[in-house]
């Protein structure tokens, strides 16, 4: 039995194939761009191409992410909160707290041993502290997005970025550059600001319960991971491909639905 999960996010779209017997068959990650419907179709076709399958070979498809209603080929849409919880539970059965930082959302989810959501909190409509926030800062500092995390780990000075708003934080960062502060110190300050903002959400869900899993694209940023681990005082477990957790959860729900 073959099913698919598709996660149409604000920046990237992921499609994942899951076989009842073999587990994850394959996945793909693409840029969502301006047409989320097209991105969803392209992601699905791409992931089906490698094993040489067709959409008709799929028993069930579930879409998730902020563009979930745009995937007309999906049988059902489920929110990313529920899918991330399912995906994390599959990968880490002992997970109880999930921190997911994506392109425009930060979510903190508390789950039980079966992957059921007990409580969740999301950032308000401001995208401060999300993937987009890091993108803006990387651009302002002229650094490759992929290198932002590792560079920041070389910090020597503990700088604080106090602005919460992305636009104001950007001007604060530019002021730090003008004052001659080192790049790695500024970058770490940015990551610390993200960790602080995330801590606010964690507190609102009732605090940390181990194990703590981090997912979403920002989990690929080693600087944010380090700053968050320091802030919560616990290690974070991260899957090798943290961006696919939502699509994986969608696929697992699809499997449950098809049996």
């Amino acid at each position: 039995m073959l099913v698919a999960g598709i996660d149409i996010g604000s920046i990237t779209t992921e499609a994942l194939l899951f076989d009842k017997a073999k587990g994850v068959v394959g996945y793909t990650i693409l840029q969502t761009g301006a047409d989320s419907k097209k991105a969803a179709e392209l992601a699905l076709n791409t992931v089906l191409a490698t094993p040489g399958k067709n959409i008709s070979d799929l028993n069930y498809i579930i879409s998730t992410g902020c563009g979930r209603k745009r995937a007309s080929f999906a049988k059902q849409s489920v929110t990313e909160i529920t899918c991330i919880a399912k995906g994390v539970n599959y990968l880490f059965p002992n997970a109880r707290t999930i921190i997911d930082i994506g392109g425009q959302d930060t979510k903190v989810i508390r789950i039980d041993g079966s992957g059921r959501v007990l409580e969740f909190e999301m950032n308000d409509k401001c995208a401060a502290g999300t993937g987009r926030f890091i993108e803006v800062m990387a651009k302002a500092l002229n650094v490759d997005l992929d290198k932002v995390g590792d560079i920041s780990l070389g910090y020597k000075k503990d700088l604080t970025i106090s602005s919460i708003c992305t636009v104001f934080a950007e001007s604060e960062v530019i002021s730090l550059v003008s004052e001659g502060e080192e790049l790695e110190d500024i970058l770490y300050g940015i990551h610390k600001a993200i960790a602080d903002r995330t801590m606010g959400l964690i507190t609102r869900t009732g605090g940390i319960e181990n194990e703590v899993i981090m997912a979403g694209g920002v989990a690929k940023n080693s600087g944010v991971v380090k700053a968050l681990e320091k802030a919560i005082g616990a290690p974070l477990k991260i899957h090798v491909e943290p961006q696919i957790v939502g699509a994986l959860g969608a696929a697992i729900i699809a499997l449950e639905k098809s049996v």
């Binding site: 929110t79 909160i81 969740f120 999301m122 409509k125």
Partner: protein, 383 residues
């Protein structure tokens, strides 16, 4: 009075053309006075022979003119209503009465009256503590209010007229509670979306017409074939949510909205005015003590738990009576009075076993897509 054969369709009409009936009555020579918030003493307006019209904004309309007079720190609901008024929506009114519910009303009252320049204006200085001296104060400010209306209309408002109005509004409340009771059924006999339209229509009509409309809706929904569509049952808590957009987001995600603690909903209809010898006494007590809104309640329990029970205990009853599975706390941004209470109300409701989703949002549909994700996730969580 218009013959009402189809209550739901009539409610829908008045919902879509808000205030149209009051406008017609104005053209036929009646006086219409708009009021803001659940603290507007409608009994007195009715007794004065004027048509009370609860003021509302339009969540689908961006604030374009109002912000020239009010900073964005003012409550988004107040700003939206004011913006609508500046754009001429309430130009047909003879006047407005703004009760002192919160700072956003109190501190902008001068701006409203100066910009709108309506023939009649009154700021009702409702006190914020509910002890005996405050009741005396409340009675006095109601008498002052009566005096200004007498001067404006040129007629005396007798105790007898007030007592009659009290009776009519109590009857209106009883009829609305009767309609609410049909929502205790599973599935409810009337959807949350339909109910919202009835609530909005009801607050735009003279009391007798409002009562006739409610009766007509009750009859209609009782008689129509019942649905077998079983869904999770949601209650919403907030101040003035007066548009179906939020309700459609909840019901569109696969739940029924079966109960509310809103200032145009159960808050308006659950508490009657006692028929006291001095009719103003009963009105003062109802608005100051029985109406449980965050700015006019002072806890008088012996400890924090008792205070919470006194303040929110009615919500527990609603959860039980209306078989509520989940509660959505929908609070407007920059709303201090409701904002202060969020942690307390959330933990109080959670202690009953019901889950709570707290949403802080604008009085606008622009941010609704993000709220929808949370509402859907919440329903998946309690599924």
């Amino acid at each position: 009075m218009e013959p009402q054969t189809n209550g739901l369709a009539t409610a829908e009409k008045y919902y879509n053309q808000y205030g149209s009936r009051a406008k017609d009555l104005k053209e036929s020579g009646k006086k219409v006075i708009g009021y803001l918030s659940a603290l507007g003493p409608v009994e007195i307006l009715t007794a004065a022979g004027v048509i009370p019209l609860r003021l509302k904004g339009n969540v689908s309309e961006a604030i374009t003119k109002g912000d020239a007079y009010m900073e964005t720190v003012v409550c988004p609901f107040v700003r939206n209503v004011f913006d609508a008024a500046v754009k001429g929506r309430y130009d047909f009114l003879d006047g407005m009465v703004l009760p002192h519910q919160c700072d956003s009303i109190d501190r902008t009252n001068d701006v409203w009256s100066d910009v709108l320049k309506l023939p009649y204006w009154h700021f009702l200085n409702v006190p914020h503590v509910t002890d005996d001296p405050s009741i005396e104060f409340m009675k006095e400010i109601l008498r002052v209010f009566i005096g200004t209306l007498e001067k404006f209309t040129g007629t005396t408002i007798t105790d007898e007229a007030i007592a009659q109005a009290v009776k009519a509004h109590n009857e209106n409340r009883r009829l609305m509670r009767e309609l609410y009771a049909l929502r205790t059924a599973n599935p409810p006999l009337i959807s949350g979306t339909e109910m919202m339209k009835v609530l909005v229509a009801a607050m735009s009509l003279p009391v007798q017409e409002s009562s006739a409309l409610i009766e007509s809706v009750t009859k209609e929904v009782k008689e129509r074939p019942s649905s077998k569509d079983m869904r999770k049952r949601i209650m919403i808590i907030g101040d003035q949510i007066d548009d179906v957009a939020v309700i459609e987001a909840i019901e569109g995600a696969g739940a029924w909205l079966v109960m509310d603690d809103l200032s145009i909903g159960s808050k308006m209809y659950w508490q009657d005015v006692d028929a006291t010898q001095d009719p103003v006494q009963g009105i003062a007590e109802r608005y100051l003590r029985k109406l449980k809104i965050p700015t006019t309640y002072v806890a008088d329990g012996n400890n924090y738990e008792e205070n919470l029970e006194a303040r929110f205990g009615h919500m527990k009853k609603y959860i039980d009576e209306f078989k509520v599975d989940g509660v959505i706390l929908f609070i407007y941004k920059y709303c201090d009075p409701y904002g202060f209470e969020v942690p307390a109300v959330k933990s109080f409701i959670e202690s009953t076993g019901a889950s709570v989703l707290y949403l802080e949002d604008e009085y606008s549909t622009s941010a609704l897509p993000r709220a929808k994700t949370r509402i859907e996730a919440f329903l998946e969580m309690i599924a």
